[in-house]
């Protein structure tokens, strides 16, 4: 969950800031007052972070480390629970264009639980394994975000990397892997490395797809792109102008032609519309163009200063 979207109010502030400072300050004040109206319905300090649940109208959001200025991690509309509020959550389903019928799904990073819930709704027969490092996030998702593990879901409170390494040793594979472990404030550097991606490859088969929510800004973008490219070869780079997130869609096999993606998108467009996923728009956004500095160093277990690279 990197760079969760700006709230509309905040984006207004930035635009005005460029024109007139005084006006911008005024708007900032208004927008501050506006966000103060968001009612905090739950606060909890976990081993890893401060968790806050807020609600404005029927929009309920999960925030980590509010006082450090973190924005929404995930939101849900309490009157329309199925609708996915954020672009990056919706984009996580773009992997369906490569694997339309996943039977074993792995989600690293639970958040509010909307990704596994949508999967279980779409594929009731699929086995869904969820790995979340913070047990408090699991209980908050259950209590406030309507997350309820079905019979086909298993939630593991564990670090993603040892979980995947162990699964690989046991020869387990997954058809669809969502990597959403980055919480904005701190990057788990051991899950950015080439060795980690090789461990992910070990739990993939020829039909599997990996969907990773990653970084679209800073030097880290280049390093991360180089690392994925070395591990997977060509991958789909998926960005939308409306969000700061970049989604990487990768598979072991060479990527399918665009016509095939368009076909799949048409096949899914009806079933995905109730979640608000504009799948028909996705094929044209899945790019294989290299827009990063290829001379950057690959991230490895020996060299992975992700948190420092993001600041530079």
């Amino acid at each position: 969950m990197v760079n969760p979207e700006n709230k509309p109010g905040q984006r207004t502030v930035f635009r005005l800031n460029a024109t007139r400072l005084s006006l911008a300050l005024f708007v900032a004040l208004v927008s501050l007052t506006g966000s103060a109206q968001a009612e905090t319905i739950h606060e909890e300090r976990s081993k890893y972070r401060d968790i806050t649940v807020t609600q404005v109208g029927d929009r309920r959001c999960l925030l980590f480390n509010v006082h450090r200025g973190d924005r929404n991690q995930t939101c849900v509309l309490v009157n329309d629970k199925q609708r996915l509020v954020f672009d990056y959550t919706r984009m996580s389903f773009s992997g369906l264009l490569l694997n339309a019928q996943p039977e074993r799904i792995l989600v690293i990073g639970l958040g509010g639980g909307s990704i596994p819930l949508t999967f279980s709704d779409l594929f009731p027969g699929a086995q869904i394994d969820i790995v979340e490092i913070d047990e408090a996030v699991v209980s908050v998702a259950e209590e406030f975000f309507f997350f309820e593990a079905t019979d086909n879901m298993r939630v593991y409170v564990d670090d993603g990397r040892p979980f995947i390494k162990r699964a690989g040793i046991r020869d387990q594979t997954y058809d669809y892997i969502v990597l959403d472990a980055f919480s904005g404030d701190y990057i788990p550097e051991h899950m950015l490395t080439r060795e980690f991606l090789d461990e992910v490859r070990a739990i993939m088969n020829e039909d599997s797809v990996l969907v990773a929510n990653t970084f679209s800004t800073s030097r880290l973008y280049d390093h991360e792109s180089v690392t994925y490219q070395r591990a997977f070869g060509e991958f789909f780079n998926f960005k939308l102008p409306s969000t700061g997130n970049r989604i990487i869609v990768a598979q072991l096999e060479p990527l399918p032609p665009r016509a095939e993606l368009v076909n799949r998108a048409q096949q899914f467009s009806d079933s995905l519309s109730k979640y608000g996923i504009p799948i028909l728009e996705y094929p044209s956004r899945l790019s294989t163009r290299v827009d990063w500095d290829m001379s950057r160093r690959q991230l490895t277990d020996q060299y992975s200063p992700g948190n420092l690279l993001r600041e530079n």
Binding site: I133, R161, P162, E189, H190, E195, F196, D301, Q302, L308
Partner: protein, 202 residues
């Protein structure tokens, strides 16, 4: 020299989490394991170093601490995977896995580094009256080294170098420190009273 030992202790400790994370993850318990083992190793080192200082304290033994710590740090680079893999396979719980791995990887070199400070106090102290002053000065310098090692590693070294390169750097530094102590000891040999100052000077 106390600065060097403090510096190297914290450099290795800061890298510890990176070394363990491929097997045991980056959870809080992994940091907990590392800090616990470093604290225990240092505690034992202080005890043994203090005890050894009562028997024929010499600059040669002092120098050997540095060289031994360097030698026992080499397995962190060469055998990390060999050590961590069976532990990872045998223990599902990353808390105990990381604790065990930290013992095997870091306990011996860290406890040897812990022996340096109390031993140095013995070498530097010439009379009872200023023993407290010397001990204070030593802890000041070694803890300053620890602070520098922590900052340097977490802010800069990991951005510039690979983990193993930093570890080799620490090993080279410790070896060099040992050699400098030996060299100055033999250079000053036969001039009573200067041995101790040699340890202090460099």
């Amino acid at each position: 020299m106390a600065f060097v030992s403090g510096f190297c202790i914290m450099t290795v400790e800061m890298l510890g989490a990176r070394i363990l994370s491929p097997y045991f993850g980056g959870s809080l318990s992994v940091w907990g394991s590392i800090i616990t083992i470093f604290m225990l190793a240092l505690a034992m080192g202080y005890l043994w170093g203090g005890k050894l200082s009562t028997r024929n304290p010499s600059a040669v033994t002092f120098a050997l601490f540095f060289i031994a710590a360097a030698i026992f740090s080499i397995p962190i680079i060469l055998f990390a995977d060999v050590i961590m893999e069976p532990i990872f396979m045998a223990l599902e719980d990353p808390r105990y896995g990381s604790l065990l791995a930290a013992i095997f990887l870091f306990f011996i070199p860290t406890s040897i580094l812990g022996m340096i400070s109390p031993y140095a106090v013995r070498l530097m102290v010439q009379n009872e009256a200023h023993s407290g002053h010397m001990a204070g000065l030593l802890y000041f310098i070694s803890t300053l080294g620890s602070a520098a090692g922590t900052l340097g590693t977490s802010f800069y070294f990991v951005l510039w170098f690979e983990v193993n390169q930093i570890l080799w750097g620490a090993i080279a530094t410790l070896t060099l420190a040992g050699c400098v102590i030996l060299a100055s000891h033999y250079y000053l040999n036969g001039q009573p009273g200067k041995q101790a100052r040699a340890a202090n000077r460099v």
